[in-house]
Amino acid sequence: MKLVFLIGRFFLSFIEETGAVILLTFRVLKRLPKVLGNLGTLFAQMERIGIGSIPLVFVTSLFVGAVTAVQAAYQFYGYVPLRYLGAVVGKSVTLELGPVLTALVVGGRISAAMAAELGTMKVTEQLDAMEMIAIDPIEYLVVPRIIAAVIMLPVLVVFSDFIAILGGMLVARFSLGVDFHVFAYGLKLLFRYQDVVGGLMKTFFFGFVIALMGSYYGFSTEGGAEGVGLSTMKAVVSSCLLILVFNYLLATIIFQVIFALE
């Protein structure tokens, strides 16, 4: 009996939260043009999300590219010549690894920071204080964060693609004995610009989801320090899960429909 009660409560709260997130999404979309009155915050957030994430993205991408080259060579061994190494690294990075791994690491960093910052503002009555001076917290705080994330995540992914391919090239050259021009040959051989564009298209949605989850859980924080911790955790977990779910859905739409191979 208790189990039924718990399951019921879980589903009810799940539906309630989904509804609240959708409502917040609509509120944000309605207020998007208002960002023009708040460009200072937008640029500050873009710097924080974009410039601030570069070291993290650099290291992540370099090693992801490197390990992709190593694993591809391992699978090629005895069947496929290593001159096709560049093709595999390029495809894997631009289609999946660049966009998804960048979104996951940047998502963890950004959604946690947003949830903690906005959550602290909530529990210290700063959001109420903002309401009382007739400033809409969604317009003033959430909209610039979401736009900044939507703009900067694709930029970070372009950077990540380059660094990851560089990582793969370095490993190919110095550890696997594949020369740069041989790697480049493989890279060009199967290159489709649609791969890069399709990969980047996904990241606009990822950026939106990251900032939305950070903001949503920040705004729904209750209690004190413990509440802020809980919100931060929920923001990171939910943005990572949603990135993976959306990645599948978007990959299906983009690569089965929009850029489908004839």
Partner: protein, 258 residues
């Protein structure tokens, strides 16, 4: 019931029969209160009796389960966000935790409302900000961040921020709680002088009875979700209402638990 000569006979804020419960716990149960222009009403009551909840209802930060709240004859519980924001231009609120924006400097905190709403030039905004900070005696901390200030200074900055738009109504949530007696005295004097200089209507919720006597034109006691007593400070001092006596002498509620 009224004192002072600036007071009209029409209430600025009229609260009629409001009810509010949180997760099954009834906090306000049929509360009525009228607040007239230019007067300072102090709502007293024990911690957790719903004083802050009442203040949040007046500010439109919460809406009642049932009942009506009027601001200048307009029913605010039915307002949409736009009308609510318009109404709040006439309101200032001092929060219990001061609630200064910690990412901004003191000057930016006080200036924010003006920058967003007034359309004044930056020079004019800065002049007004300085003027309001002088009013609370803190014109020299404009460039500091809230984290560098003491609790009392934060309260004073928050007060400057609350009155920067020259509001008609100022809401004070526990203005002296957590301050030493000297600083509490400073805040009390500020509330009085702001009221005199800016001719504002004030609603103060507090459990600090000394503060209530100092600043109040009228004291209302909130108990069990209702206003159980209203009177001037002098009337409160001499009342034989057992709830008010119990609160003032610190005996309220302890008989039952003993």
């Amino acid at each position: 019931m009224s004192s002072g000569n600036t007071i009209n006979h029409r209430p600025v804020i009229r609260i009629q029969n409001i009810w509010k419960a949180f997760e099954g716990q009834q906090v306000l149960s049929g509360l009525n209160l009228d607040i007239y222009k230019g007067e300072t009403v102090v709502v007293i009551g024990r911690s957790g009796c719903g004083k802050s909840v009442l203040l949040r209802h007046i500010a439109g930060l919460m809406s009642p389960d049932s009942g009506e709240i009027f601001f200048e004859d307009e029913e605010i519980t039915k307002f949409n966000r736009k009308k609510l924001f318009k109404m709040r231009m006439h309101f200032g609120m001092l929060f219990q935790s001061s609630a200064l924006f910690d990412s901004m400097t003191v000057g930016e905190n006080v200036a924010l409302a003006l920058v967003r709403h007034s359309g004044f030039s930056m020079e004019k905004v800065n002049r007004i900000v300085l003027e309001k900070l002088e009013l609370v005696g803190l014109a020299d901390v404009t460039g500091k961040h809230p984290s560098e200030l003491s609790g009392g200074m934060k309260k004073r900055v928050a007060l400057a921020r609350a009155v920067v738009m020259n509001p008609d109504v100022v809401l004070y949530d526990e203005p002296t709680t957590g301050l030493d007696p000297v600083m509490a005295g400073v805040i009390n004097r500020l509330i009085l002088s702001l009221q005199k200089e800016l001719d504002i209507t004030s609603i103060v919720v507090t459990h600090d009875i000394e503060s209530a006597y100092r600043v109040g034109d009228k004291i209302a006691m909130l108990h069990d979700g209702k206003i159980v007593y209203e009177g001037t400070p002098a009337q409160v001092e001499n009342t034989d209402n057992h709830l008010v006596r119990g609160f003032v002498t610190g005996q309220l509620g302890t008989e039952a638990s003993m």
